[in-house]
């Protein structure tokens, strides 16, 4: 019970820190809207088909969701290191995964919220709609996507605690995922080797299902896509189990929780 309370408090504190931080509005509100505007402008100006236009409607929101969900927990670890609180939270009787669980959930909330202004912008600004939306399949796909984001973020966030330099490396992963997983365009446009890499990323399958739930033309195999995304997410979590053990030990060997 006390662990649930600790995770909940980490969630609440992260939300409050983000609400009062001016900079965080850039990542969950401003940048995704810029992506949406550019995407919709490009995709709607050439008389693109409705199946392509949905990438403009949802792509900006997806990028925003991913950026916030994935990077918020890691960034806050980096912030904690700079402010000297990382050692303080690490030395409490609450395992670091519980704290990161709360932080990642807070990121997911902000990420989901970032969808709303983007959808409104697409609808009111560009009169873009989702032509053949299947609400149930859309919601389930969004849920599976959320699970995949959650698992990746929870798995990789402790690396920010372990290494001071992790931020720059993992930042690159953020960009790679939204290209490889087809957030703004179908992954069929990628080279075959890149499609192979995309196949081991859980969001690829969830995003495919998400977009499929908004258009008529198939073939669609939602069950396979959902199961692929869930299965890969579970694999990530299994990796996380070992990673957290490693972080708990290695951080105490290297002393990198402190700034210096």
């Amino acid at each position: 019970m006390s662990l649930i309370r600790a995770g909940w408090r980490a969630f609440v504190i992260t939300i409050r820190m983000r609400v009062i931080s001016t900079w965080s509005y850039l990542s969950w509100l401003v940048f995704p809207m810029l992506f949406t505007i550019v995407g919709l402008y490009v995709l709607s100006s050439g008389g693109a088909s409705s199946s392509r236009l949905v990438y403009g409607v949802l792509g900006g929101g997806l990028i925003g969701y991913w950026s916030v969900a994935y990077l918020d927990a890691g960034n806050s670890i980096q912030d904690e290191r700079w402010s000297g609180t990382l050692e303080q939270i690490f030395a409490t009787p609450t395992p670091i995964w519980v704290i990161l669980f709360g932080k990642v959930c807070a990121g997911l909330v902000f990420g989901l919220v970032s969808f709303l202004p983007n959808a409104a912008l697409a609808y009111f600004g560009f009169h873009a709609v989702l032509p053949a939306l299947d609400p149930w399949k859309f919601v389930i796909s969004l849920g599976v996507l959320t699970l995949s984001f959650f698992c990746i973020a929870l798995t990789l966030a402790p690396l920010f605690a372990l290494w001071r330099w992790a931020f720059s490396m993992l930042n690159g992963f953020e960009l790679g995922v939204y290209i490889l997983c087809g957030f703004m365009f179908p992954i069929a446009a990628l080279a075959s080797w890149a499609q192979g890499v995309a196949g081991v990323l859980a969001p690829t399958w969830a995003v495919r299902a998400l977009y499929a739930s908004t258009v008529m033309q198939g073939p669609h195999d939602f069950t396979l896509w959902w199961l692929a995304a869930i299965g890969l997410s579970v694999v990530y979590l299994a990796g996380a189990y070992f990673l957290y053990g490693l972080v708990e030990r290695e951080a105490r060997v290297s002393g990198e929780l402190a700034l210096a």
Partner: protein, 323 residues
């Protein structure tokens, strides 16, 4: 059973340097420290920057693993029993970092109370009591960024006391505080020890250790070079005197010359604005003063004086400071 114990405690940091040719570097922070602190003791660890004080504190507080040796607190192994140990100890690091500045003091305390897994009914009573005791009541809903340095440090202490720890680790808690704030904090720390808590205090302020500690260890280069009560540490220099003077521009060869004078135990040179303050520990100040001219011929000496040694002199001699 000692409240805190270290046996042959050793810590080596491994890192790399260089950009293209990466070179592995090892830095030894602790070189086989032995220490035993009894329950209820206020124990001070004195040493210059880089001596190993913080490393030792972090090992006891489960933040670092020793390279070898053993560290136990309340009979629990600081390496393997970290989860049980963290519930029973508190720690405070000096400086104004380590707090969420954009949150209120109350939010900071509530957050850490939950991370320390303290039941809500206990937290509801303990936080107001701590705020009252540490003089923060009435300001708890202000953002921490609006607090003075002293208030931040008292908030640190409140955080460290949230779980009512049996052992409290304080790593240079008065660093950067004004004299009044530092004195207030020392009074609180002494009260905590009088109330039965074991306190492990690191500092490089000799007078602070002298004022409040029951026992002191002096650490240098990762080794304990002296241990005992403040008065027993002072005995290191009881048969000595001190000669001090100011000079502008003190060449290294002249310092070496001073060290070679008869009866000189140690020489410390500390920059003071444009001048240097030279402190000579010796068996006979009168003899040394008559010999100064031999070594410092042609130099203009100011404020030449001799005095009885203090605890700080004992510390300086033990550390062998010479800059």
């Amino acid at each position: 059973m000692p409240a805190i114990e270290a046996r042959r405690l050793r810590k080596t940091y491994k890192t790399t340097r260089g950009v293209f040719r990466r070179e592995k570097v090892e830095r030894v922070a602790l070189r086989g420290v032995d220490l035993a602190i009894e329950p209820g003791e206020l124990f001070g660890v004195l040493g210059p920057n880089g001596a190993g004080k913080t490393t030792m504190t972090k090992i006891f507080t489960t933040l670092l693993l020793p390279t070898s040796g053993a560290a136990t607190v309340l009979g629990l192994d600081a390496v393997h029993d970290q989860w049980a140990l963290r519930r029973r100890i508190g720690f405070v690091f000096g400086g104004d970092r380590g707090l969420y500045w954009r949150l209120s003091g109350l939010d900071n305390l509530r957050y850490f109370a939950d991370l320390y897994r303290i039941p809500p009914e206990v937290t509801r009573k303990r936080i107001p009591a701590l705020l009252e005791r540490l003089g923060l009541a009435g300001r708890e809903r202000d953002r921490v960024e609006l607090y003075s340095r002293g208030m931040k440090q008292r908030l640190h202490l409140a955080r460290g006391l949230l779980n009512d720890p049996e052992v409290l680790f304080l790593d240079e808690p008065t660093i950067g505080l004004d004299p009044v704030g530092a004195r207030e904090l020392r009074v609180i720390v002494r009260e905590l020890a009088d109330a039965g808590k074991t306190v492990f205090l690191t500092t490089h302020y000799m007078f602070e250790a002298d004022a409040i500690c029951d026992r002191i260890a002096v650490i240098k280069g990762g080794e304990i070079v002296a241990e005992g009560t403040p008065s027993s540490i002072k005995k290191v220099v009881q048969d000595q005197g001190v000669v001090e003077f100011e000079v502008v521009g003190m060449p290294a060869e002249r310092v070496a010359g001073l060290r070679g004078l008869q009866g000189v135990k140690s020489v410390a040179v500390v920059d003071h604005e444009l001048a240097q303050v030279v402190t000579i520990h010796c068996s006979s100040p009168a003899d040394v003063m008559t010999q100064l001219g031999l070594v410092l011929d042609g130099m203009s000496l100011e404020k030449v004086s001799s005095r009885e040694p203090t605890l700080e002199d004992a510390y300086v001699q033990l550390i062998g400071e010479s800059s």
